[in-house]
């Protein structure tokens, strides 16, 4: 059941309703979306399916990174911003300074996979602490032996997302403990395929990238299980372990931010409602991990109520989205880290 049809029966009736309501033509318009490359496949897939049903609304989706998207959002250049991390306080200030406001909508989970070369048979599971010693600023870990005494003395080479990405921000927040800080001597690329290729060709390499890229290259690289240090033991990154919340702390929510003054626009409203109503299938088809039906219900309610503001205050490490949406205070659900 599609939401537009569910509410109005058909596109023509919707058009008639709008005509009657505001004296304008059928719902048409241009929706501009930009931001994270991680969220791009989900939002663009939603746009593709939505436009197949509703030909009068045109949607353009760009990629300029979470930070780049937020900057455009703050200048009012776009209607919706894709983000692989929550909006930062100083970005909130910019948006508000421009006289705008936003509705924050969590739409999916993504797992970050820590991957090594298949020849690195010595490593199967790493603790967050070991990863922290590898990645923290000024780290002196240059050999696998420095990570754990029984690892061989092979050079360790690190690959990761570029420092402008939300992925880097999240990984450093979850592993190093402070967002945006890490050692500088690693190979950075915004293109996850580059990271996969790097690890596939280097027996001493270790990289982090999105779960979707691992699923497509599981024959070329090996995923390391992660011990979050909460007594859960070593957990492999899979769609299930991300969805159930066992894969911690490297599972993170993905967001879209809708400009409040544009949320009442019939085109934007119709698109966002379609997106949220079909989120489970869209997210799964885009190879990400959907939120629970209950959570999507809460997200839809948040959009319908036009609730503005961010629930996350810059960090999503260890938070439970549904609890936050239900209005539980953020700090009781925050992880102990």
């Amino acid at each position: 059941m599609r939401p537009v049809r569910a509410a109005f029966g058909s596109r023509w009736m919707l058009a008639a309703a709008v005509l009657a309501g505001c004296g304008r033509g059928p719902v048409e318009g241009l929706i501009k979306i930009d931001g994270s490359s991680t969220v791009f496949p989900i939002t663009a897939l939603a746009a593709e399916r939505f436009m197949a049903d509703t030909s009068d609304i045109r949607i353009a989706v760009g990629i300029s990174g979470t930070g780049g998207g937020m900057a455009k959002f703050g200048r009012g250049e776009i209607d919706i911003s894709n983000a692989s991390r929550p909006i930062k306080d100083k970005e909130v200030d910019k948006v508000r300074a421009a006289g705008l406001d936003f509705i924050e909508l969590p739409i999916a989970y993504d797992g970050l996979v820590v991957a090594v070369n298949p020849e690195a048979t010595w490593v199967d599971c790493l603790t967050v602490d070991e990863l922290k010693r590898m990645w923290e600023p000024g780290s002196k870990v240059n050999s696998w032996k420095d990570v754990r005494a029984d690892f061989p003395d092979r050079p360790l080479r690190l690959y990761g997302a570029g420092t402008d990405s939300g992925t880097y921000d999240y990984f450093t927040a979850a592993i190093v403990g402070e967002e945006g800080t890490s050692r500088a001597d690693f190979t950075a690329s915004e293109d996850d395929n580059v990271l996969v290729t790097g690890v596939a060709g280097d027996p001493g390499a270790l990289a982090f990238f999105g779960l979707a890229y691992y699923e497509e290259s599981a024959d070329k690289v090996k995923a390391v299980r992660i011990d979050g240090g909460k007594g859960g033991g070593c957990v492999a990154p899979t769609f299930e372990s991300v969805e159930t919340g066992q894969y911690q702390p490297l599972a993170r929510p993905e967001f879209v931010y809708v400009r409040k003054d544009r949320a009442t626009d019939p085109a934007v409203g119709a698109f966002v409602r379609y997106y949220l109503a079909h989120a489970r299938t869209i997210v799964r088809d885009a190879q990400y991990v959907p939120l629970s039906d209950e959570t999507y219900g809460l997200v839809r309610a948040r959009f319908d109520a036009q609730t503005t503001g961010s629930l996350f205050h810059g960090s999503t490490v260890g938070v439970k989205i549904a609890d936050l949406l239900r209005g539980m205070p953020a700090d009781t659900t925050r992880s102990a880290r």
């Binding site: 241009l30 501009k32 930009d34 490359s37 791009f40 496949p41 663009a44 897939l45 746009a47 593709e48 436009m51 045109r58 949607i59 353009a60 989706v61 760009g62 990629i63 300029s64 780049g68 455009k72 250049e77 293109d191 996850d192 395929n193 999105g210 979707a212 890229y213 699923e215 497509e216 290259s217 088809d285 885009a286 190879q287």
Partner: protein, 294 residues
């Protein structure tokens, strides 16, 4: 005199001929590097993407289903960009070159202008992207529209067109100008009826090569923030757009291997487009040369 017995004269014919043959081989190899790389690239692309070059590849929009994905919006966007860039850059570029060659008096200032144009031709394209973003997208508030993209690309190729046109004007025999002036023609009459027609082949070649550079450029489009997913074609100059290089860039970054096949197919289309343009440059030049007033 007996040359053969003279110790001072040694023709070393064999050694010189060996050296000559060696140089010929080296120079041939230098030529082959370019050709071999191009052939290798084309074969690789055909193997990877040839199977994706179906009819619907041209008529479908970008899709996340690789079997339904096409390049319609990117191809149409590239063609629009090409047309608009040409319409903007050619009158301005040719006009500037005519003024510089036929009107401007030679002096220190002129040399400075000339030096600047030559320098601009070598500025990396990403810099033009930043200029376009600051000036067209933000300052003139054209947003990330087709027009902003075309204006940026026009700036990018303007120096190349100016230089090519100047070269073409300079190659027009002096006698042609002088005899026209001697018959009482005004400066504009000389330019319009004599200089431009004679210089046209050179100008056209320069223009087409410059425009084909614009069609293949990716960096400025990424900087001004062309959209990547667009399932419609632009309806006005102020509509958002995408272009072939952006689509290719996006597809190569997708996790699924089938999108890299689509990228290969799109590269083939772009290469054919560029080869066609370069071919058109040659044909046009030959035709003009045949009809050239003598």
């Amino acid at each position: 005199m007996e040359p053969t017995s003279s110790p001072a004269f040694n023709p070393r014919i064999e050694a010189r001929q060996r050296a000559s043959a060696l140089w010929a081989t080296l120079l041939l190899l230098a030529t082959l590097v370019g050709i071999v790389v191009l052939v290798f690239l084309l074969v690789d692309l055909v193997i990877k993407g040839g199977g994706r070059l179906t009819g619907h590849f041209f008529t479908n929009y970008m899709s996340f289903d690789p079997d339904r994905a096409g390049i319609k919006s990117a191809l149409v966007g590239s063609l629009w960009l090409m047309l608009l860039t040409t319409l903007i850059a050619v009158p301005v570029g040719v006009g500037a070159a005519v003024w510089l060659e036929e009107y401007a008096s030679r002096g220190r200032l002129m040399r400075l202008v000339q030096l600047n144009i030559a320098n601009l031709a070598g500025v990396p394209s990403v810099i033009y992207g930043i200029l376009g973003l600051t000036f067209f997208v933000r300052f003139l508030a054209l947003d990330r529209s087709l027009l902003a993209g075309a204006l940026t690309m026009a700036l990018l190729i303007l120096p190349v067109i100016v230089i090519a046109t100047q070269e073409a004007l300079r190659s027009v025999p002096k006698g042609l100008r002088e005899s026209a002036y001697a018959l009482g023609a005004t400066r504009w009459q000389v330019i319009r009826s004599h200089l431009l027609p004679v210089a046209a082949p050179g100008i056209l070649t320069g223009v087409i090569l410059a425009v084909s550079r614009a069609v293949g450029e990716t960096a400025p489009l990424i900087v001004i923030g062309g959209f990547v997913f667009i399932a419609f074609t632009p309806g006005s100059l102020l509509d958002p757009f995408t272009a072939l290089p952006l689509q290719i860039f996006n597809w190569t970054g997708m996790p699924q291997a089938s999108f890299r096949e689509l990228a290969a197919a799109a590269i083939l289309v772009l290469m054919v487009l560029l080869l066609a343009m370069n071919g058109a440059a040659i044909v046009l030049r030959n035709r003009f040369e045949r009809n050239r007033p003598r």
